[in-house]
Amino acid sequence: MTKHSSARQFLADAIHADVADIPHDARIGSFARWDSLAHMHLLLSIERHLGRQLKPDEAVQIESLADVTALVEKNARTNV
């Protein structure tokens, strides 16, 4: 599984959808199902994956799947 499909999986899980239903370019404001509760579930899911709470400056930057991917990749690099 690529990092990007992993980000799609996070969002799919957050909205109880199939990953195939998640657009590759999904972002806040343009993908209606990414709503307030989905955002909460998404960020909590990312925190479980990282094993720590997101820092405020990390959490506020998440606006798109690409942001999720970047955050997960950055965390993986720092854990190598």
Binding site: S36, A38, V60
Partner: protein, 196 residues
């Protein structure tokens, strides 16, 4: 000491909601239940507690619709009170700070806040002389953060250790979001064009 002058009450409608300044007679068991629900109050860093109807009625009457507004959100189908905004106005700088509570959890995740807040932004920017709107959610209030971002507010900064936790006394971080009147007008225009 004389009481501050009372302003014009809010009375607005959106597609699904009626928004109006709350009155003492709006104190209800529904509202009392929100005040003691940790899921509702926790993200706001507000202590859960029993509030009598008399307390809530006095609380509602303390808002003057000039410097401070308490605005109920009522769903139009049944007229049920589902939440409220508190808007605090700094007239000297034409800034309004918005806070919101959706107490009825059956309405969570149903885009209540941004539909209602859009009508309030129109009202405050276009009819009440406000030039900047602010919001200061706790950084862990992820649903509120989503709503600000989805509505086009700008993240202006992070206020570290700005609040004392009502739960455990730790220090909590807040974000500051802002929206200027011109920015809101551009968002509104773009939305209308998108719908066209």
């Amino acid at each position: 000491m004389t009481a501050p002058p009372k302003g014009r009450p809010i009375l607005l409608e959106t597609e699904r909601f009626a928004l109006r300044s709350l009155k003492p007679s709006d104190a209800s068991e529904r509202w009392q239940n929100w005040a003691k629900d940790p899921e509702v109050m926790g993200p706001l860093n507000a202590r859960t507690r029993e509030m009598s109807r008399e307390y809530l009625a006095n609380y509602a009457s303390s808002f003057d619709n000039n410097n401070r507004y308490l605005i109920g959100i009522f769903e139009k189908a049944k007229g049920l009170h589902i939440g409220f905004f508190i808007v605090e106005v700094d007239h000297a700088h034409r800034v309004a700070t918005f806070n919101v509570v959706v107490g009825d959890k059956t309405w969570w995740g149903k885009a209540v806040v941004n539909e209602a807040r859009a009508a309030l932004l129109d009202e405050f920017f276009d009819k009440r002389g406000i030039e900047k709107a602010c919001g200061v959610p706790l950084t862990r209030n992820f649903p509120a953060v989503l709503n600000y971002k989805a509505q086009g507010w700008r993240h202006e900064g992070t206020l570290h250790g700005q609040r004392l936790s009502s739960a455990d006394g730790s220090r909590l971080d807040q974000y500051q979001f802002g929206l200027l009147r011109d920015e809101w007008h551009r968002i509104r225009t773009r939305g209308r064009n998108d719908e066209a």
